[in-house]
Symmetry: C2
Subunit: 292 residues, 2 copies
Amino acid sequence: MLQSTRQVDAKSRYRPQLTESARPSTFEVATLDEHGAVGRAFVAGEHPLTVYVDKREILTLMTLGAAPEALVLGYLRNQRLVDSIEDIVAVQVDWDVNAASVYTKNGLINLDEKMAHRTKTTGCGSGTVFGDLMANIDDVQLPLDGRLKQSTLYALAELVRKYETIYKQAGAVHGCALASNSETGCELLYFVEDVGRHNAVDAIAGMMWLDGVDGGDKIFYTTGRLTSEMVIKAAQMGVPFLVSRSGLTQMGYEIAKQVGMTMIGRAVNKHFLLFNDPGRFVFDAAVAKASP
Amino acid sequence: MLQSTRQVDAKSRYRPQLTESARPSTFEVATLDEHGAVGRAFVAGEHPLTVYVDKREILTLMTLGAAPEALVLGYLRNQRLVDSIEDIVAVQVDWDVNAASVYTKNGLINLDEKMAHRTKTTGCGSGTVFGDLMANIDDVQLPLDGRLKQSTLYALAELVRKYETIYKQAGAVHGCALASNSETGCELLYFVEDVGRHNAVDAIAGMMWLDGVDGGDKIFYTTGRLTSEMVIKAAQMGVPFLVSRSGLTQMGYEIAKQVGMTMIGRAVNKHFLLFNDPGRFVFDAAVAKASP
């Protein structure tokens, strides 16, 4: 996990009390390979983390545990259960009991109503309250003036590749990153890996919340597929550029069009497909297509 | 989707009334590539499907829609909301309203209790009722006498590769397969692709239920990662051999050990890693390791 290096306003910003309870991310186990040879391999951690808010049990997240406090914060933010980081007093993660205890100033917003809604919405590819997410997407208007350069896209992919430490060692995780986006290129602000795509994106939302980072001039990168939920979460974070090394679903595509998000899939080794809003993309690194 | 070709006992078996409402799986959209060239690409469908049981709304699944009736049946089976296929009267999928209406003889088992449990368990990598799944895993005892040959493993991987039509065209889906396993090799019984791993495995559980297929002498194959949920579901279906082209998590590994499941990961191009219970694996296709 890469934490933000930007400490601007760090002293004046409100910050809840947080534990720092990252878990070891990989574990070594015995294997046999196709030759029958004994070996060892690393596997990614997967742990239940039950979230309690003001002592009420909310749900259990299955997570790698690399950024549990940010994950819980981002979950509450993305589910719109809490409006403002100032409403969070503390997040205490205790792996002895696999619990994250959250304390708020004013409780959660419409919790019972949202719990009831969950009935009809959970079970999507991600275990989140989908209907509730969709309900708010009509309000999202992404900034139209940003531009993403092809050279910046390539630089970002290279930066992410260097940070994928757990994936390289053990596989079985997805990575999500938030990067700055300027005339001169990009800088990796956060990078989180987790066993669930939805966890990695929630953890980044939590870090942005903590640091007061706005998504409007950023790029969101994920190694995972761009399903409806990933697009909705990126839109809620206000990020106009969404990049994936994988493919996308039709519903992800439709929502990206609706909110005006530039969506780039299959971004591997200087190849990519641009799926929406090409007007904001600058082909500054295009190479001539080889003649047949 | 490959339906079972085995029609043994088909006439005498009970079968609920089912619609056959598979949706088109891929959609074509406009793209620009890295050269700025206009093109078209296929993307995988993703659709909400709200499940009603005896007119009560249960949850919404996000699915490709290739096997919606089997998916709903398998979901109810794997969540242990219904004990027997004979308790299902009908499953009617209507995409005009994105709804699957299930009618039962005797209602669901402990629905309210399970709905309450969901609070603490949903949100895992898959949106299913994890705690409830784990509660039953202690009862699972997989058959110990089966053997899996290396040559059969290779043959299975090749069979699956041929059937991955949606993945090849559009990506963004996971495939799951159930195969027979005998002295002479294997045969693909079911193959399902979906935008969610958990949906593909549920759909196969539904097909097995419909056809009265036992898992004890079968192999379960998935293109996706072997997380706790995948291992638990394979164990509940009674399948002793679980194969993936991807990696695994520590919790998936621990549960496989607990239930006595032979687990094979990273099965790509005649390479693989055997993670548990090697005594049931027969190295009949091992090639000598090249000398350094």
